[in-house]
């Protein structure tokens, strides 16, 4: 069963975040590794329970911040002191103090771009098709249902065994979905 390429996995529907959380923990204990939870809002601690690694977005944003800061320093120094030095009100061509506002603004601007587009990229979006949309109750995921999918590619996956296991965790609705 685990080798059937037309099946994405088994969907189990739960009616509360607590039930879903318990099921995730139980699934991990039972040796499942390839699973994904789908919820209408973020559930704290579910990544840990699933054994997912923390997001690397923060490090990417740090790179964005450094780029923004560097760009602002370079831009103000090069335009004001190198490419076209112009005396204005006797001020120095380049100084640290009056450069701070634009250093700050460009740091924030580039960091925000990385935060947003990095998040979209790490999530593999935009992606208009995904097997979860084949689940007949997928409308509930963005409403009030809490769903666990154990993927068919999991070594422990077994259509009947996994079904029995998830039913024992209190899943309301169980459904195999196509890839």
């Amino acid at each position: 069963m685990a080798d059937n390429p037309s099946i994405h996995g088994l969907v189990a529907d739960f009616d509360s975040p607590d039930r879903l959380m318990d099921a995730v923990k139980a699934a991990r204990k039972a040796g499942y590794t390839k699973m994904e939870a789908y919820t209408p809002f973020p559930i704290h601690g579910i990544d840990d329970a699933m054994g997912a690694k923390p997001s690397i977005l923060g490090y990417l944003v740090l790179l964005g911040s450094a780029t923004g800061l560097g760009l602002a320093i370079w831009l103000q120094w090069w335009t004001g002191a190198v490419d076209y030095p112009l005396v204005i009100a006797g001020k120095p061509f380049f100084a640290f103090e009056p450069s701070v506002p634009i250093m700050f603004e460009l740091t924030v601007l580039l960091s925000s771009f990385v935060a947003v587009f990095g998040m979209i990229g790490l999530n593999g979006l935009p992606k208009l098709y995904h097997p979860i949309f084949n689940y007949t109750g997928h409308k509930g995921i963005t409403d009030d249902r809490f769903v666990l999918v154990i993927e068919a590619s999991d070594r422990e996956f077994d259509a009947t065994g996994t079904r029995d296991f998830l039913a024992a965790q209190g899943a309301g609705k169980l459904e195999l979905i196509e890839a």
């Binding site: 789908y38 919820t39 579910i46 923060g58 076209y84 112009l86 935060a115 947003v116 990095g118």
Partner: protein, 486 residues
């Protein structure tokens, strides 16, 4: 024995519960009820009144378009700006609109970092307000440059006409960067928050067209734990970035004045004073709009009196800070011993030709919010609606007073003057309200006006807390002891 202990531990459990968990929703809606109440707004057939509202706000926006076309075709001279008052209503209105935006970012970012749960029902709406207000603000400096088709010269874009670079040592250029960064980051933050809710509307769509439109807008969001993990990280980072950003924007706007050497402008108090005033006016605008929107769209159970009351408390706090800043300015004008500084405050502002504007400002900004000390008044909807409008009138006058009084009496009495707006000034300002409201009319029709996923998350978190508090109340009332003595 145990009864006494419990009661002694929690003599005010009921009161504590009310304080810790004020009602952020009423009537115990389920998560599905939240989805319904918010999504339905964009799903029902367009009401006739919506078209009427659009026709009214659209016509006012048309006036703005006409006035701008007239100005561009004729020149900035159609405004009342003239020596010595070179900054008139344009910069007043620019600062006014930028200030309004600040409440949205404060609610979305700062209250998020402070874990203020009450922000969830109003953040989407007030972030939209930020964007629309910044759009209105941006018009003024762009047009005031005189040749708006060359407004891109404000940015360091190499071009064939301007054979030099922008002056990065000028606060006016810092302002260009501050406002454009603020507009961009606010739009990004708003969009990130919208993605999961757009997916909700996509999943509820009954027509192909809606499914396509909301499907593309939500990028294929599927609410997986992996998605939420990166999403929450991005949201936290954006909140962390927006918090200093929003404080920087009005700080830098105030540098436009404070870095000059004009009496009345050249003061170090400006950055905090401008930021407090911005939050003050912004919250007033949120109250004005929210009182109407929650009634029209029937979301009174999601935007409750607790939300309105909290906003009124912020108005009271920031209004008092603004009043304190006014007093400090007078004190320093006297204490500095600088005759020019004293003249601006004691003559130009308080008793000079602009005395009427000054005292309107004091009445609206310092006196009117003080009514909110009384719970009866700050929970009275018609009253808070009236005060919120009065506050925004006051904050408009504050910017006008700052600009006009410092400019109108130049150092040489021969060049004294008095600013009078032209009909173009007045109608342009009127027109920006049309633009602001038109954008709102579209927003409330097509997008979820309440952040559904955040409200649901808040409800789920509150339920756990509620359970704990219920136990505390039961314990104080001795109910938990019914099981008998162990």
């Amino acid at each position: 024995m145990a009864e006494i202990t419990h009661a002694a531990l929690n003599p005010h459990a009921q009161e504590m519960k009310e304080r810790l968990s004020p009602s952020l929703t009423t009537g115990h809606p389920s998560m599905h009820d939240v989805t319904e109440a918010v999504s339905i707004i964009s799903e029902v057939k367009t009401h006739r009144n919506w078209y009427i509202a659009l026709a009214v706000t659209g016509s006012i926006t048309g006036i703005l378009g006409l006035m701008l076309a007239y100005l561009v075709a004729t020149g900035v001279g159609v405004w009342g700006n003239n020596g010595p008052v070179g900054w008139g209503w344009d910069i007043t209105n620019f600062v006014f609109w930028i200030g309004i935006g600040h409440a949205g970012t404060l609610i979305s970012a700062i209250l998020f970092l402070f874990r203020q749960k009450w922000r969830t029902s109003i953040n989407r709406f007030s972030e939209a307000m930020t964007l629309f207000a910044v759009a209105c603000a941006g018009i003024y400096p762009a047009v005031h440059v005189g040749r708006p088709w060359r407004a891109y010269w404000l940015f360091p874009i190499p071009n064939e006409f301007l054979n030099m670079w922008q002056n990065f040592r000028s606060p006016l250029l810092w302002d260009v960067f501050a406002v454009s960064t603020y507009a961009t980051v606010s739009a990004l933050f708003w969009y990130v928050g919208l993605i999961p809710d757009l997916a909700t509307i996509r999943d509820r769509a009954v027509t192909k067209g809606r499914q396509m439109a909301y499907g593309i807008a939500s990028l294929g969001w599927r609410g997986s734990a992996t998605h939420w993990k990166n999403y929450e990280k991005a949201y936290m980072i954006l909140a962390g970035l927006s918090t200093p950003l929003v404080l920087s924007v009005h700080t830098i706007v105030s540098f436009d004045f404070a870095v000059s050497i004009l009496p009345g402008w050249h003061t170090t108090i400006f950055p905090p004073y401008f930021v407090a005033g911005a939050i003050f006016s912004g919250f007033a605008m949120v109250v004005t709009l929210m009182v109407i929107a929650r009634w029209i769209y029937k979301v009174e159970h999601l935007v409750t009196m607790t939300h309105l009351e909290n906003m009124n408390k912020v108005i009271l706090a920031t209004g008092t800070i603004v009043g304190y800043a006014y007093a400090t300015e007078f004190f320093i004008a006297w204490y500095s011993g600088n005759p020019y500084e004293s003249y601006v405050f004691f003559v130009s502002r308080a008793t000079g030709p602009y005395w009427w504007a000054y005292w309107t400002m004091i009445t609206c900004n310092v006196i009117s919010p003080q009514f909110f000390w009384f719970k009866k008044l700050r929970t009275n909807i018609p009253f808070m609606f009236a005060i919120s409008i009065v506050v925004n009138i006051g904050m408009w006058f504050e910017r006008f007073v700052i600009i006009a009084t410092s400019l109108h009496r130049d150092f040489l009495p021969a060049s004294w003057g008095y600013f009078r707006p032209t009909f173009v000034d007045i109608l342009t300002f009127f027109g920006t309200f049309g633009l602001f409201l038109t954008l709102f009319v579209f927003f409330t029709r097509f997008l979820p006006i309440i952040a559904m996923s955040e409200v649901k998350g808040m409800m789920s978190a509150t339920r756990h807390e509620q359970h704990y508090l219920d136990e505390a109340v039961d314990a104080s009332e001795g109910k938990v002891l019914e099981g008998g003595a162990h």
